[in-house]
């Protein structure tokens, strides 16, 4: 069974079909990149996969459970327990330190544990910046705090929306390297990006256009664990 499966998923705003009968599977441990021009439906797909929004039609199976039919409260629980979110604009709470931002995710999940939060920051190479506020961190460092925050509750899938969109090349490399390590550890990654270089390092790339899957490509040189990928 796939970790994530979208079956005939549509998202309709009035007469506009932001997503039009999308079918997509993501296996456990897979690294998938979603690409496409503006208005192609990337963010809508990310919102639906991330339980931030509901599909108008179709099924969204996460671990075999259709989250498209869940209430707002249940979707919050799904986000809390199963999904790690990374945003282009980082979205760190400005008045909390790096370690406190990581602990915030723990707080809404279970119990904040500073030691564990420090370990998460250590994984992303920011242990020495734990007591710094977001304004005292570079863009790359802020994004790495976001990654630590996304990882802290051991989610089943990490969704990254343009994770390198606000970073320079050096920081872009650091974040991509971080994703590579997470993937090696077995983390499932779905990365929405404009950047072909970022998309190329993923195992598979799906390209959206006008709310539909235009085409998909598999990175033949990638040495991931999942080899078999199905696109319906």
């Amino acid at each position: 069974m796939s970790l994530l499966e979208l079956k005939n998923v549509s998202k309709i705003y009035g007469n506009l079909h932001a997503l039009d009968h999308i079918n997509l599977k993501v296996e456990k441990g897979e690294w998938l990149a979603i690409m496409g021009p503006s208005g192609s439906g990337k963010s809508t797909t990310m919102n639906i996969i991330g339980a931030l929004d509901k599909a108008s039609e179709g099924e969204v199976l996460l671990d075999g459970v259709d989250i498209a039919k869940k209430s707002a409260r249940e979707l919050t629980n799904i986000r809390r327990d199963k999904i790690g979110l990374i945003f282009q604009q980082f979205h760190l709470v400005s008045y909390l330190t790096a370690v406190e931002n990581v602990m915030l995710a723990q707080y809404y999940h279970s119990v904040p544990d500073e030691k564990e939060a420090m370990e998460a920051l250590e994984r992303v190479g920011l242990a020495d910046r734990a007591k710094h506020y977001p304004s005292q961190l570079s863009g790359g460092e802020q994004q790495r705090v976001c990654v630590a925050r996304a990882l802290i509750n051991y989610p089943e899938i990490i969704l990254a929306d343009e994770p390198t969109g606000n970073l320079d090349e050096a920081n872009e490399e650091i974040v991509v390297e971080l994703f590579r390590k997470l993937h090696e550890e077995g983390t499932t990654l779905v990365v929405v990006t404009h950047n072909p270089e970022v998309a190329e390092v993923a195992q598979r790339t799906v390209v959206l256009r006008n709310g539909k899957i235009d085409h998909e490509s598999i990175n033949e040189n990638f040495t991931g664990r999942i080899k078999h990928i199905t696109l319906q």
């Binding site: 929004d53 919050t76 986000r79 809390r80 979205h91 709470v93 904040p112 929306d161």
Partner: protein, 429 residues
Amino acid sequence: MFIRMIAKAFIRQWKKMTMIAFTIALGASLATAMLSVMMDVEDKVNQELKAYGANITVVPKEASVVNELYDVGEENVSGSYLSEDELGKIKTIFWAFNIVDYTPFLNVEAKLNDGSPVTVSGTWFNHHMKLPTGEELDAGIASLRSWWEIKDGNWIDEQGKDKKDVAMIGRALAEEEGIGVGDKIRLAGNRNSKQLTVAGIYDAGGEEDDQIFVTLDTAQALGGLEGKVDSIEVSALTTPDNDLARKAAKDPGSLSVAQYETWYCTAYVSSICYQIEEVITDSVASPVRQVADSEGQILEKMKLLMILITFLAMIGAALGISNLVTASVMERSQEIGLMKAIGAHNPAITGLVITEILCTALIGGLIGFFAGQGFAQVIGHTVFGSAISMRPMVIPLVAVLVTVVTLIGCIPAVRMLLNLRPTEVLHGR
């Protein structure tokens, strides 16, 4: 983590929180001042209204019946009197401390030197009494008729050296008879005649300007009515009448035991009258309705005005809080969206925001409370010329008002917060 977030949010948003605290402090200070004055105003207004004279008159029972039948006014045609010896008992009733002043009157007819008839009224001016309770009291018309204008001379001083054989004469009579301060006048009463020195000329603005006021014993001597008085005027601090008081005024016997106890132990004018009748033999005490009713009406209107000001102040505070908290939530929409995105439920975020605002309200409320106490004292000294005593009841009332107003002020912000969708605020590019 919760406390850490609250504390850090405070530090980060100190300017906004200061504005919210200031708004709450303004509302709380007005509410505190108005409630403090409102709770103390009854005594203050009562004291003010005492300047307009007595609110209870006591007459012999027979005189009351005759007056009711024939409406003869103040003239004693019944030939019945009250006993001077019992006057001190008025300060022994249950509501003795509410009796702020009283004075007896004895009117006798006399003739002046030229034979013209004149009404001579014997009374206390500043009579000193030692009560059975050990209390000492100065009572008399000098304080009961505080609006009289002394045109010449002074009030008679009963405690001074020249207290004997002195008189005060009304302005109209003095002008008509050509009498001045220091002049000697001879008054011939039914029984005796006396030569008196004019100590002062007063302007009462009424029929009393044609009379002569003398000490009670002088009038008693003129009329041969030793130990007797016609009537007593009493100035008492009273509680405005309600249905119970009105029912009791008609017939105290119609009250149940519980109602009777409530009525008897409340300073209604009717219960004070009833208690005076209990200690003065064969007397009828009745409220001077005009004064008593005015007191009640003025008090009720003042209270209503203060409640209205409190209400408006609180509405103003609620609107101010509403704007500021809504602005704060709008400013923090990305932070709130993020919290929702990473698994925070609405109650958790609402709780966080409301706790922040309630903590601010606590600080603002405390500042407002103490400022309000100051305002109350300013009002007390400016309007009533005395301090407003702090009633403990004001504290919980202001606390409840501030809490309710703060929560009401948070409603628009909370609604916005509940409707905020993370997808709308997290994907800004």
